[in-house]
Amino acid sequence: MGRKWQVTLIVLAVLGYGGWVIAELNTNVGYAPEQPLPFSHKIHAGDNKIPCLYCHAPAEKGRHATVPPMNVCMGCHKSVAVTKENVIKLAAAYKADSAIAWVRVHALPDFTYFSHRWHLAKGVACQTCHGPVETMDKIVQVQKLNMGWCVDCHRQNKASIECITCHN
């Protein structure tokens, strides 16, 4: 009898853990792909304390935070750190009028509507969703960014959890 119970418990535990692992994998937490240029948020936002919205200005005005256009990069890198290898690459690309194809890290499915603008307006810090970006050399997904995670936050902050708030 005792053995039987043990076996049952172990099987249940393994199944439960497996399910949890699958659910967790689905969230992409920890996703940190190589980027075409090793841009470091730690240097820019952490060490040099450049405000997030300096580069990601559209976040305040519209849905998308966007990866900054290259003219924004070159605004500083015309004169700053021009001798660094990667900045030289950047400048060359800019001169050639060609954009860098960054790998997207934070992505919501296409059937969700998300506007950076209204989250910023409500005072949600960038780090709430993107993690401590200012400490990251390479951007990594910290939060699950799945529906339950969004809804949890909306509930805590008494934001709308109407379906069409995010889905239409």
């Binding site: 966007t66 860098i100 997207r104 889905h167």
Partner: protein, 1031 residues
């Protein structure tokens, strides 16, 4: 869209456009740096590239298929490609609007173009534009799809004639070759275009002709109103196309015309027409139609009489005779010339000859006379174009003058129309010149004569006698393939241009994006030819057409009207508003004197010596066929027959019985030796001796959607005395034994006595404003207390009196909500996806039915039956009263659709969005609205009350710190409805228009006995008649 302080749309305007130098290097970079699809980005990634030269692409949200829905594996790697230099006016995710002019037909309606990340995704009417006042027709709404038509020509092409061997050409090559021919032609140059009416465009054409002295410009419209102009000249001395004021007509008599569809200004007419149809203080306009077919306008008539096309003139003369001769009324009473001309057409004679009910002429005359000065007699269109068309128009002019409508509802002096100027006689002259070798260079633009001229005129043969034929078009179509060069033109949304649809209304066309393909506007092509030939004024002009346009506007508008302020301010303002009108809307036209001798020009009406006569007609969806590769339009049902993806011969039910025909049987029609096969549609309301076929179909070389869809009815046109006859053509009809299942969106056409569309006569309504509603025997009760809607509760009201059934809302919704087209086969299987449809019912006798149009869309019921049955909570009710459909939660049980009494839910039986995003369809995916989820296979969808617009309105209000006001949020269908039949708003706000309408005694809710509590109120259809039986 950005906002200024008062909450109105502030329009941005185009700042500069790169020079079209024609330089190969520039051309090449332009090609490279323009749009790419995500697929091609991925391709380059696969090859290991990381750097891109894509300046204009940030991200095509919504374009990438929603494949990442719930995969267990790592998501597919997505790339973000930022701008190299972000254009100042673009904020990703925020739309930018441009004011422009619709280029799909010469009506010249003003449009606002909504762009996202530099791509137009929606076109709406420009509210400031005097012609369309913010409204658009189905074709205008669909024109944004043409921009992304994958079958557009992507580079210049040189063809060898005949035989049509195609080869790519460069612009430089083409320009120099053409310039050489132009120089060598010695003035034997002809420019063949459709109607052109902007000052700059007209000036350009004049300058071009002047650059090659001796050359001529011929205007050709496949669907023209030249009889009206000709009759105006006979009657009043000047060949003008009057501006018909349907808004000023309390009584409207139609003699074969279909002003609301396929006419020269359908949106304006529909607006005016519907304004009169709305019941105000117990009165409304009265519409009496005499016509051989059941036209869209006729379907809204209070009284509908069937008349053979050749008898229309008799009816007109009968009315005139009754008025002037018998009743002795009007200024012409006692006029000897008038009496002698009209005496033979006494009402009794006409009624007998024409087969009208006794007293109908007298009654109609009485109606017209009682509303004199506030009525309108209108005739026109292809159906009226028989031998006596000119006489009919003269008689109509006489009636309007006699009824004192001249100068009131017929404006021939103050702001007449420029919207149709084609001359068929000129075309015949051209053909004669071509045959005789008097044409060396022929430049064709905005016309497709090989398709739309009957082969008997011999245009194709004559074309072979012309040394150099240049076709400025967007594809190698029927005409293009017989030319030496086909030079791709830009889409109107990529072009500069102008229009003057009515005198004093100057409308500006500006590009909303740079050309997608390697194309050039036809204006710039003319420039390039002249410049390369170094000929005349144009040869010396250094700028582009944009600069030319600006200079012409400076001279011909700014300077001419002595405008205050700087020209730059004027120009910026014109660009921002899209239109500049010097017309004072309060000014009235002056009545002109009717030349009584014109009556003598009315020929004694002839007889058609055949059992059946064929009438061609131009509908409001395909019109002359230039948009036949537009899948949205192909799938838009014909408003009366409800048939999509084909044309057909309409046959009266009685006739079908006589001939033993049933629906979809293929018959052979033979008109003067021209045979073609076409399926039969049994159309109630047709005159039994008339067969009718719509033109604008049966194109052979238009693209993947439109090729060989339908039968080209233009081919049946008959030339007689330099005139093109399109009606009363003797026709032989014979069965072929074949069938061709017509794809109709409606299978049942009568209401079976159900109170779906509730109607009453005006007399009944005056007596009891609730007339027409069935009486409820008991109150509807519920087990439950209803949910409370604390803030807004969205609702809609639809005035069935105003709705003309034109289908503009259907296309607007399709454009706004990424509704896919499914193709003919799927429509035939009952799987069309339109979120809003117009149900059309017939009532009364099948020989002469009454027609009812009812827009049907999700009713957003408070007690929504669909919600209760969905097992996954994919459809629930929002706190503001919306029946929300959450696509990504839907598993596709289809139970909701089964339980929807209105059957407004649409199921994705297949991956229908492949219409947009299959690789071969590029760049069609760019038309998708990124604010609306693209639905995948296996899920249900339906009208959302444009929830994205509600959100946008809310956000705008929040931004301005103001509460939402009534009218801040309009749905796409409401926005475009030319009849303003649809009103959307907050039912919780008692001041809102929708709440007012919902309370009206005419208001009723469809199937309210089911206790579904729909959020949509319909207003009873009122027929302006005394008694019910007076049909």
């Amino acid at each position: 869209m950005s906002e200024n302080g008062n909450g109105k749309k502030q329009l941005r305007y185009w700042v500069s456009l790169e020079d079209y130098s024609g330089d190969p290097a520039v051309e090449k970079t332009r090609q490279e740096e323009f749009y790419s699809k995500p697929e091609s980005v991925m391709d380059e990634l696969d090859r290991g590239g990381t750097a891109f030269s894509r300046r204009d692409m940030l991200k095509l949200a919504g374009v990438a298929a929603v494949f990442a829905a719930a995969g267990c594996a790592r998501k597919p790697v997505e790339r973000i490609i930022p701008y190299v230099n972000q254009p100042e006016e673009i904020i990703p995710g925020v739309p930018v609007w441009y004011a422009s002019t619709c280029g799909e037909c010469p009506a010249g309606c003003g449009v606002l173009v909504k762009t996202r990340e530099a791509r137009p995704i929606k076109i709406e009417g420009n509210p400031d534009h005097p012609v369309n006042a913010g409204k658009l027709c189905a074709r205008g709404q669909a024109s944004v799809l043409n921009l992304y038509d994958p079958d557009r020509l992507r580079q210049p092409v040189k063809l060898s004639r005949p035989g049509g061997m195609k080869q790519e050409a460069t612009w430089r090559q083409a320009d120099s070759d053409i310039a050489q021919s132009l120089k060598a032609a010695g003035g034997k140059v002809r420019l063949l275009t459709g109607t052109i009416h902007g000052p700059a465009r007209k000036r350009l054409v004049a300058d071009f002709l002047a650059s090659f002295p001796g050359s001529r410009h011929i205007t050709y419209d496949a669907v023209s109103e030249e009889e009206i102009r000709a009759a105006q000249e006979v009657c009043y001395g000047e060949a003008v196309l009057p501006r018909y004021r349907f808004d000023k007509a309390d009584v409207l008599v139609l003699l074969g015309g279909d002003p609301l569809a396929g006419s020269f200004s359908p949106v304006e007419f529909a607006r005016g027409f519907a304004a009169g149809r709305k019941v105000k203080d117990g009165s409304m306009s009265k519409v009496i139609s005499f016509e051989p077919v059941l036209s869209l306008t006729g379907s809204s008539a209070d009284l509908h009489y069937q008349v053979k096309p050749e008898d229309l003139v008799k009816v007109a003369l009968g009315l005139a005779s009754e008025l002037v001769v018998i009743q002795g009324r009007s200024a012409f009473a006692g006029n000897a010339a008038a009496i002698s001309a009209l005496r033979p057409y006494s009402a009794a004679t006409v009624e007998k000859e024409v087969g009208l009910p006794e007293g109908s002429i007298k009654a109609t005359t009485a109606e017209l006379w009682s509303a004199r000065g506030k009525s309108l007699v209108y005739a026109g269109g292809m159906v009226a174009k028989d031998r006596s068309a000119l006489g009919l128009e003269i008689a109509v002019n006489f009636l309007n003058s006699a009824l004192e409508n001249e100068g009131v509802s017929v404006d021939g002096t103050f702001s007449p129309s420029n919207q149709s100027q084609g001359s068929f006689a000129d075309v015949l002259d051209l053909i004669a010149d071509m045959r005789a070798g008097r044409v060396e260079v022929l430049i064709i633009s905005g016309a497709n004569p090989v398709y739309s001229l009957p082969s008997s005129v011999g245009f194709t043969e004559a074309l072979q006698r012309v040394k150099k034929v240049v076709y400025l078009g967007d594809r190698v179509d029927e005409t293009g393939e017989l030319c030496d060069y086909v030079l791709p033109i830009t889409h109107p949304l990529e072009s500069w241009g102008d229009a003057e649809p009515q005198k004093g209304v100057f409308s500006l066309m500006q590009p909303a994006l740079r050309p997608i393909f390697d194309s050039r506007s036809w204006e710039d092509s003319l420039f390039a030819f002249a410049r390369t030939a170094k000929a005349g004024v144009l040869g010396n002009f250094t700028g582009t057409f944009q600069d030319y346009l600006k200079s012409v506007w400076q001279k011909e508008i700014y300077t001419r009207y002595n405008l205050a302020g700087s020209f730059e301010d004027f120009w910026k303002n014109a660009l921002r508003r899209g239109v500049f009108s010097v017309r004072n809307e309060d000014d009235a036209a002056t009545p002109r004197r009717f030349k009584i001798e014109a009556l003598a020009q009315i020929r004694r009406p002839g007889k058609v010596d055949a059992p059946y006569r064929l009438s061609l007609w131009a509908g409001g969806i395909q019109q002359d066929g230039r948009q036949q590769n537009n899948a949205w339009l192909l799938e838009t049902p014909d408003p009366v027959s409800k048939i999509t993806w084909d044309n057909f011969v309409s046959v009266a039910p009685k006739t079908a019985e006589t001939l033993g025909l049933s629906e979809s049987d293929v018959v052979k029609l033979s008109v003067g030796g021209v045979d073609a096969e076409i399926p039969v549609h049994i159309q109630p309301g047709m005159h039994p001796e008339v067969l009718a076929v719509a033109v604008g179909w049966g194109r052979k070389k238009v693209g993947r959607y439109g090729d060989s869809v339908g039968t080209n009815a233009f081919g049946w046109g008959k030339i007689e005395k330099n005139r093109l006859l399109t009606s009363a053509l003797p026709v032989e009809i014979s069965k072929t034994g074949k069938t061709n299942q017509l794809a109709s969106v409606q299978a049942h056409h009568v209401m079976e006595g159900r109170p779906v569309v509730q109607e009453a006569t005006l007399a009944e309504y005056r007596e009891n404003p609730k007339a027409g509603h069935p009486e409820h025997k008991e109150e509807l009760i519920s087990m439950w207390k209803p949910h409370e809607y604390k803030a807004e509760k969205w609702g809609m009201a639809i005035d069935l009196n105003a709705c003309i059934g034109c289908n503009a809302c259907v296309v607007a919704c399709q454009s706004e909500n990424n509704v896919p087209t499914v193709g003919r086969d799927q429509v035939a299987r009952g799987r069309e996806m339109h979120w809003i449809r117009i149900d059309r019912y017939y009532s009364g006798e099948p020989e002469n039915p009454e027609v009812l149009h009812q827009p049907m869309l999700c009713q957003h019921c408070d007690n929504a039956p669909c919600e209760t049955v969905c097992p996954t909570l994919a459809t629930t009710h929002s706190a503001d009263g919306l029946n929300q459909q959450i696509y990504n939660r839907c598993v596709g049980t289809r139970y909701c659709s089964n339980n929807c009494p209105y059957k407004v839910r649409r199921f994705n039986f297949y991956q229908y969005t492949h219409f947009y995003d299959e690789p071969g369809q590029s760049p069609l995916e760019l038309v998708l609205n990124p604010d609306v989820t693209v639905r995948t296979r296996g899920i249900m969808e339906k009208c959302t009350f444009c929830v994205q617009r509600i959100r946008e309105g809310r956000e705008r209000a929040k931004e301005l710190g103001k509460p939402l006001a009534d009218g801040d949020i309009v749905t796409a269908c409401q926005q475009t409805c030319p009849a303003e039949a649809i009103v959307f708003g907050d039912l919780n706000n008692p001041e809102s228009r929708v709440a007012q309408m919902a309370k009206e005694p005419r208001g009723y809710r469809v199937l309210d006995v089911l206790n579904t509590h729909p959020a949509i109120t319909y207003l009873t259809k009122i027929r302006n008649r005394e008694k019910a039986e007076e049909v």
